[in-house]
């Protein structure tokens, strides 16, 4: 069974600084997808970034980028120029590539990010 581990329960960053959130996963599959979701106090789970395992290039979305190390099964999220609105719980998630309509997400336990002004 696949598992996702986030070893940092809480992180803190100064506004305008850079922070990296860690995620490791375990799978025997070769094709899969990895995601970072953000959950602010409003509870809405918001997609931050997505990475396809077959792509060697790391995904980037504005101030958010990932460091995807397939052999090490590591998928970290880097947030540059941190803003107060980035404060939230961040979840790493895994999804297998089954080619069918049964692609559930497997989540880690989350990292609570605080942004200090």
């Amino acid at each position: 069974a696949q598992t996702v581990t986030q070893s940092q329960p809480e992180m803190s960053v100064q506004e305008a600084e850079t922070v990296t959130l860690s995620c490791t996963y375990d799978t025997s599959e070769s094709d899969y997808y990895l995601f970072w979701y953000k959950q602010p106090p409003s509870r809405q789970m918001i997609l931050v970034i997505r990475q396809e395992a077959y792509k060697q290039q790391n995904a980037t979305e504005n101030r958010f980028s990932v460091n995807f190390q397939k052999a090490a099964k590591s998928f970290s999220l880097k947030i540059s120029d941190s803003q107060l609105g980035d404060a939230a719980m961040y979840f790493c998630a895994y999804r297998g590539d089954y080619g069918g309509a049964t692609n559930k997400l497997i989540f880690g336990t989350g990292t609570l990010l605080a942004v200090q002004p």
Binding site: M45, R50, A101, N103, K104, G108
Partner: protein, 116 residues
């Protein structure tokens, strides 16, 4: 473009009662997945509906059941509520791409269920 909507926002029930939660998917999506998120935890997959059928189920008892309607909206039913069912219930919608699988899942705001 309407995103995923869920109702109600909050719900308080007592042990033994039954509850129904509702979800309308994002426009253009045809698949609905339900997740349970206990306080301080990551979401846990309950089940997924596509073409009005349950396609995959997580490790949840039969007390948890669901339904998908022809307009792709979905319901989650929980019978014989237990205190441990208190959680945030999240609905996510996605689009099946034939031969590829479901695309990225987008989440609704959730329903907070409290069982007393």
């Amino acid at each position: 473009d309407a995103g995923v909507t869920q109702s109600p926002t909050h719900l308080i029930k007592t042990r033994g009662q039954q509850v129904t939660l509702r979800c309308s998917p994002k426009s253009g999506h045809d698949t609905v997945s339900w997740y349970q998120q206990a306080l301080g935890q990551g979401p846990q997959f309950i089940f997924q509906y596509y073409e009005e059928e349950e396609r995959q189920r997580g490790n949840f008892p039969d007390r948890f059941s669901g339904h998908q309607f022809p307009n792709y909206s979905s319901e989650l039913n929980v019978n014989a509520l237990l205190l441990g069912d208190s959680a945030l219930y999240l609905c996510a919608s996605s689009l099946v791409i034939k031969g590829y699988g479901t695309d990225t899942q987008y989440f609704g705001p959730g329903t907070r269920l409290t069982v007393l």
